[in-house]
Assembly symmetry: C2
Homo-oligomer: 417 residues x 2
């Protein structure tokens, strides 16, 4: 008998996402969670030391704390690889204006859009940004998310971009959730550069990226590559500069218009290209060949009231690896819940429950290059686990709009939510 | 100073839904929640005795328990006027089959559909039905719902229909939530009557309705009037018999096909006609003239992955009163949350936040003929109140997929959820 610190046994299902390997999954492999029925898991502090049937685990391990998992489903903590969760202010009035049929331009003219969050964020101190963001991180954790990516991009000037990234670094230290920081200085064109965008691009490249890299504040650089925001050449210039400075790259691509963002992601060997509602068949093929992950954000399509989602089925059939994320932000998609994202992925993009969960755990971990460390319930990995009160993993999208989490384990620590 | 038992003061917004009257709302009146900013409310036991600004209430009332409502929004408890929440078993496998493109007929051939829940419900005792339903009622309460309608319809034979209605009566007694019972023996055609539907209709009329009425087990009679289920003539016969026996009527109408269900609802002066995705313009006009409420169930459209929702805007423009409901059931829409229904109503049917909340409170109360008693925060009404942790009522659909409830008050009792 080996000693463990915690055992959970008798779970209806342990969704391991481990078939002997834990690599990024594509095609049919996304549709298999490698479920162990009547399963159990053993931890030593923050490390998974055993996963198997209840019989196997109880025969091999003993622990002071043994939790009866009857009626539960265990899976890896959700990884949310695309968020703008650190911001100030909120924009519920703009949401209502959109419902009343006002156009983006009218909303912008009334002070709305990313610039509205920019003004609130520019006015906020690091402390305020942290205080406003903690309830959101608490909600993410309560809904089963244990690791996220978080972007800057509401500063659009050096000082505020740095403050936002400092808030992300501080939240990573203070909060149970792990935050992976992304610099997104090119999130929108600030008003003062609307007539000379290239000058803003120069500032991002020559002033912001070096300052961010010097302070070690970001792992990734991202660009909102879209009609009316940054075009392909501007996006390429920024991302090439970021790579040269030592950042990895990811990008907002082909959300509304097929500008060729997916092709650019392939060309630059980005880790991930995100949104992709308007992606071309060539874009899918190029990303597949270059090994770029497609991170899909169905909550945004939903909250904007649009009918056409990213072509997930076509992407899966083409062998493109898919991750899912909330896009949590104060404008187009304000939700912290990966559970509602999974429901959207299934009902609106026709992903199967297993595919959607793979995309929210193992593939999402790979989208942050953390696939060796988290994203599956594998011996040796960090103990980031969600314990759901439900009969089957299929319950997540089927029984929607409520919270199925019984408790969360982050780095081996049980967190009652 | 008058004595109260409980005061909540300093709420960001108190959404009273009271403009001097509390009648059913149509047209532009649905778009106004009669909000009091920096509002307060005073209760004596289970009755609202004062609603006004914080200054007004604190000048007029004192109470031993005074709760600081800073950062909250108060509104009437949600009323959910269409649910099938009392059932046995679950159907997550069928949900997955549907995502994989299997047809209704294939799913039925594999034992799925309403008949699957029927088999599980027929096999369950009243006690089992109560035990399986309590967690769902708890979830409803935790998400802000204080009164619901609950239908039979998974028995499709006399004994089980009666057991289901007995479970509803017992849950009404035991649980904080008030349940209004509806007899829905004509929910589906049981296999044994597939080739002689009229014989089943005869049993509903001659055996079931009298037994239900004799035991006082239902306030309403409902029929699933739809192609492949009960046609217009059969629906009319059942509902006329129900009216003759003293039940009020409501019906599932024009969900998939425009059979003329809305016209039938108007003809019979039903309290409500529900679903209505395929309603004709004539149906809208007939319902409007007859004063029938349109109860819309956008969660069902969403969970079935359909793109076209009921034409809420057209109905509102035509002066038709709209209520919203979850349709909570184990097949086509398994959710207990009126919060996600409000998000769906706004983003998918283009209702405004105020319209969706009116449809989930005051109009929903009228859809159960309880508009004089609940559904608004009015002096003299029962103290069924939700206290939300959010800046504005607009937050409900804007910041979606999570639970904004801080606590619920049911009949004056504070329930921490």
């Amino acid at each position: 008998m080996k000693d463990a610190t915690l055992i959970i046994y008798n779970a209806n299902e342990v969704c391991t996402l481990d078939n002997g390997g834990q690599g990024l999954r594509t095609g049919a492999a996304m549709d298999n969670l490698n479920v162990i029925e009547k399963g159990a898991i053993a931890l030593v502090e923050d490390v998974i030391v055993g996963v198997g049937t209840t019989e196997e685990i109880l025969d091999s391990f003993r622990a002071e704390t043994q939790i009866d998992g009857t009626g539960t489903v265990l899976m890896p903590g959700f990884v949310d690889p695309h968020t703008h969760v650190v911001f100030a202010g909120s924009r519920e009035h703009e949401f209502e204006m959109r419902l009343r049929g006002e156009s983006y331009m009218e909303i912008a003219a009334a002070g709305g859009g990313i610039r509205s969050s920019m003004r609130a964020t520019r006015a906020a101190s690091v402390t305020q940004l942290i205080e406003e963001s903690i309830p959101r991180l608490n909600r993410m954790l309560a809904w089963g998310t244990t690791t996220i990516e978080a972007k800057s991009g509401y500063g659009l000037e050096l000082e505020t971009e740095l403050r936002q990234l400092e808030a992300i670094r501080e939240l990573h230290k203070q909060h149970e959730i792990d935050l992976v920081p992304t610099f997104l200085g090119a999130h929108e064109i600030p008003d003062e550069y609307r007539d000379h965008v290239d000058e803003y691009v120069r500032i991002v490249i020559e002033e912001m990226i070096p300052a961010v890299v010097e302070r070690g504040l970001a792992a990734y650089c991202d660009v909102f590559c879209e009609a009316g925001v940054f075009n392909i050449d501007q996006s390429r210039a920024i991302l090439q500069a970021a790579k040269a400075a030592g950042l990895k790259v990811r990008l907002h691509a082909d959300e509304f218009v097929d500008l060729g963002g997916a092709m650019l992601a392939a060309e630059l060997q980005a880790i991930s290209a995100d949104h992709l509602l308007a992606i071309s068949d060539e874009g899918i093929q190029a990303m597949q060949e270059a090994g770029v992950i497609a991170t899909l954000l169905p909550g945004t399509t939903f909250s904007l009231g649009k009918k056409e989602y990213a072509p997930a089925r076509k992407m899966i059939d083409a062998g493109l690896p898919i991750a899912l994320a909330t896009d949590c932000n104060p404008g187009s998609c304000y939700t912290e819940s990966m559970q509602i994202i999974i429901a959207l992925a299934c009902t609106q993009m026709r992903m199967t429950p297993a595919e959607a969960i793979t995309a929210s755990t193992l593939n999402a971990a790979h989208a942050l290059e953390l696939g060796d460390h988290i994203g599956s319930l594998s011996v040796g990995k960090q103990a980031d686990i969600v314990v759901f009160d439900m009969p089957s993993y299929r319950t997540l999208p089927y029984h929607f709009g409520v919270n199925h989490v019984r408790f969360v384990i982050k780095r081996g620590e049980v967190i009652t939510v």
